[in-house]
């Protein structure tokens, strides 16, 4: 891993220079909360924040995405597909947990068995610059899921805030090339590197929230019919807050937005919390109640996904904990499973 540095006061002008070349997404404050949006000036980017309200997954996997448009004209049916002519993209300021979520999404949308052109077209053009978390929140439990406040997974570059400057770690080859190309990155002194190490160490200690996730899968393997599920769901509202704000949830539905003789086929987020998610045309619903749906969410994240991808579909970002309207805390759920 090769380190460089960039002075804090040069960051805005650096972002400005990136904007001319790339489509740059960064955390910004809108309507009182933080979201990732395309920025048009480096000063828009928010550098000190806990994490965004909505996960940055929507940059690569938007809530609504047009797959193609169609039109019935004099010459018959015409279909128009997206051209993917977008500029190269930079996602700047993403947190390590969310960067790790991209590894998970990659495994779904760009795997041996399935290649999603819409996702891949954007993903391949994307450079991920993460900023590590000097002060993780009390709801962060990334270390329980193999991540950490300075985990490099999923990032091309990782920035470590050491007060007056950022130490920049090149994580991937793509990141290394990027560092070489931009003269704003300077050689880093040993003093900064030791500061960086102490920042990383301190942050690790600050993560107090821990769940022994190693055992979860084994427990879940034999828990499908456990009475545990009979009461777990009781307070759940069956809304999609947890799934829509989750950086790894990736289930979708496909719908037609048609008007007269033209229309769009659109991919939209869907949620296993909704009864409609599994409702069949016959009227049968294999997951008829909240019980089955709550079980599905937990099972998918911590068992089925592990079976299929060898990792849990959770990065410990804590969004579902913060935003659940009834405080159904996933850490409590996991701990209860461990105690079964």
């Amino acid at each position: 891993m090769k380190e460089m540095k960039i002075a804090k006061n040069e960051l805005v002008s650096f972002l400005d220079s990136l904007i001319s070349e790339y489509k740059v997404f960064a955390p910004v404050k809108r309507d009182g909360f933080v979201v990732f949006q395309e920025i048009y000036s480096g000063s828009e980017a928010l550098l000190v924040y806990a994490n965004s309200k909505k996960p940055p997954k929507e940059i690569l996997f938007p809530q609504s995405e047009v797959l193609f448009t169609y039109r019935l004209g004099g010459e018959g049916l015409g279909i128009e597909e997206p051209t993917f002519k977008d500029k190269q993209m930079v996602i700047f300021g993403i947190r390590p947990c969310d960067a790790k979520s991209l590894v998970i999404l990659d495994d779904i949308f760009n795997s041996q068995v399935y290649k999603d052109v819409y996702y891949i077209a954007k993903r391949e053009k994307t450079l991920v610059i993460a900023i590590g978390c000097n002060r993780p929140s009390s709801t962060c439990f990334c270390t329980s899921l193999g991540g950490g406040p300075f985990s490099p997974d999923g990032s091309d570059l990782l920035l470590v805030d050491i007060d007056h400057e950022y130490v920049v770690q090149a994580v991937t080859e793509k990141g290394k090339q990027f560092l070489k190309k931009h003269s704003e990155f300077k050689k880093v002194e040993e003093h900064s590197l030791s500061l960086m190490r102490s920042v990383i160490e301190t942050a690790g200690v600050l993560i107090k929230s821990k769940v022994e996730t190693g055992e979860i899968k084994k427990k879940l393997d034999v828990m499908f019919d456990d009475p545990f599920w009979d009461w777990l769901h009781e307070k759940c509202l069956d809304c999609a807050v947890c799934t829509y704000l989750c950086p790894t949830c990736h289930c979708f539905d496909i719908t037609d937005e048609a008007l007269d003789q033209r229309g769009e086929r659109v991919r939209i987020w869907d949620s296993c919390a909704f009864p409609m998610f599994t409702l069949e045309a016959s009227g049968v619903n294999p997951r008829p109640t909240s019980k089955e749906r709550t079980r599905q969410r937990i099972m998918h994240k911590f068992k089925y996904f592990v079976d299929n991808h060898d990792m849990a579909a959770c990065v410990g970002c804590g969004r579902c904990i913060k935003e659940c309207p009834v405080n159904l805390d996933i850490r409590t759920v996991l701990n209860s499973i461990l105690n079964r």
Binding site: V66, L259, D260, E264
Partner: protein, 152 residues
């Protein structure tokens, strides 16, 4: 030919003509419109009539969906109070519409997009005049804009 074939919703183009949907109850207002017709009364041709059993059949969704798809004006018309074929349908509808009418105005949808009326089966002349009046009002407002659905 669908109503959308004439012009794109929400756009004022040369020769723009307002498009109005009138939901008329089967027993009074539709008969009133019929009477206007058989009496050879002239009124602007911008209105498409949809016949419904009773004014209370009209859900706010039908009105909002009309506006969403680019209709410039909506009229809901039923029997005069006391004349409802189903005894009290229009009285119940009146309450519903009072709340809806206020809510739409509150949200900033222009007054004059959505109209409510009582037209009896004998009021062919009044129907023709009502349509004239509403057409002019909607024409003055221009094409619908607020709720019109634009594809992203």
């Amino acid at each position: 030919m669908g109503i959308n074939k004439m012009q794109q919703p929400g756009q004022k183009v040369d020769g723009w003509k307002p498009r109005i949907i009138a939901f008329l109850c089967n027993w009074c207002s539709y008969a009133g419109a019929d009477l206007a017709g058989v009496s050879r009364l002239q009124y602007p041709p911008n209105t498409r009539i949809i016949r419904v059993p009773c004014s209370s059949r009209i859900s706010p969704l039908l009105i909002l969906k009309s506006l969403q798809h680019g209709v410039d004006g909506v009229l809901v018309s039923g029997c005069r109070p006391g004349d409802c074929h189903y005894i009290s349908g229009n009285y119940v509808a009146r309450r519903k519409f009072a709340i809806l009418n206020n809510l739409l105005e509150y949200l900033g949808i222009e007054k004059g997009r959505v109209h409510f009326a009582w037209v009896s089966a004998a009021e062919g002349k009044r129907f023709a005049e009502l349509i004239k009046e509403i057409t002019e009002e909607v024409r003055a407002l221009g094409p619908a804009k607020e709720l019109v659905k634009k594809q992203d």
